[in-house]
């Protein structure tokens, strides 16, 4: 009986120690598992792929906007060489794996090498750029592919009305709406000219000139002209991104 008692005591002790070891092992295993999970979850956000893609999206857009602004104002920078330089800069300075950005410029009419400048349409002027960008990132254990379109467009729509006051005088009302992509946008500068057979004249030198800015991308100007036939108006604008566009319109006689 004593032998059985001793044996039971020993087993009781062994079970207790083994159980404690088991619990300790579970605790350590859980912590190691958690640690290993954090190793793969990309805690270093500075090299997080999604963060870097957001960085590239923003700055690619800024760069394309800059080229369009330059081009619309008569400058010589082109999209291809600028994007080539940007792509090379990204490749050299991405510090987590490799990152390659490739681009495809929209060459379908009315675009040419990614740029659209069309100020000859009746009542509408457009300055635009459209590029398809593809980003491929690879590192140990993962890769990321994403494509997106950068579309930068500034459009102005002009409408003119001529109302005869008497035999000689006419009041000209010009309405101009400025858009960035499909949204109304503010102009950083706006210039209105008119023509009645003698060449273009600044409207702000005409009698009774006034310009109303409605604060939402809509502008309305009015002025008086004398001894004029058919009146053409031209609105030259620059949006807050510096992109220039212009449109001409023949005033409707009322």
């Amino acid at each position: 009986m004593n032998m059985i008692g001793v044996s039971r005591n020993r087993r009781h002790g062994q079970v207790l120690i083994l159980s404690a070891l088991g619990i300790a092992g579970i605790i350590i295993a859980t912590c190691v598992y958690t640690y290993q999970l954090t190793q793969y979850s990309g805690l270093d956000i500075s090299s997080s792929p999604n963060a870097f893609v957001e960085n590239l999206k923003l700055e690619s857009r800024n760069l394309i906007t800059g080229v369009l602004s330059n081009k619309s104002n008569g400058g010589g920078d082109d999209l291809i060489s600028t994007l080539q330089r940007w792509s090379s800069f990204i490749y050299k300075n991405h510090n987590s794996g490799t990152c390659r950005m490739t681009y495809h410029l929209n060459d379908e009419n009315p675009y040419s090498s990614g740029i659209l400048i069309d100020w000859a349409r009746n009542s509408t002027g457009v300055s635009g750029a459209q590029v398809l960008l593809h980003i491929r990132m690879t590192s140990e254990g993962w890769s990321l592919n994403t494509s997106y379109v950068v579309d930068v467009t500034t459009r102005i729509v002009v409408d003119g009305i001529a109302v005869s006051l008497n035999d000689t005088a006419k009041i000209i009302s010009v309405n101009a709406d400025l858009y960035n992509e499909d949204n109304h946008a503010l102009a950083s500068s706006l210039e209105i000219l008119y023509r009645s057979g003698y060449g273009w004249v600044h409207a702000d030198s005409a009698d009774g000139y006034s310009l109303n800015d409605f604060g939402n991308g809509t502008y309305k100007a009015s002025f008086t002209v004398f001894n004029a036939g058919t009146i053409d108006v031209s609105v030259l604008s620059r949006d807050e991104r510096g992109i220039f566009t212009m449109a001409n319109s023949t005033c409707n006689q009322v």
Partner: protein, 141 residues
Amino acid sequence: MPRNKRGEIRVLEALLASAIIFSALLAMIPLKEYLHSSHDSEALSKIGFNVLIEADNDGSLGKLISERKWSIIYDRLSLLLPVGVAYNLTIYNEDIQPLGNGSISSSWGSTIGNNVAVQFLLADKNSLRLYMIRLQLAWMT
């Protein structure tokens, strides 16, 4: 075996078992510290990245860099970063040469623990120049 002996042995066994479990818990403290500081680093990185995105959302940060307006950049970053975060900003040109006097910093000498570095590539839409920004962040004492 006498009862008191059995009792002593049981107590010792229980103490040993407790010591094993307690040791396992103690051994996990450094890991817990690491995870906590990792969480801090993650938060700082997110802050730094979001601040740079916000600062250049309209392309104005690029223009300020091209025009070397360091005091305005300093003011803007100080405004965007939360209180208690120190920073050290270094800007490199396209040839990875540092611009200006080296770096723009705020309270960088009074920081504790780990600092994180956020790297951000930037294009100035006015001059079409390219820059690399390195923003180091740390919690202040």
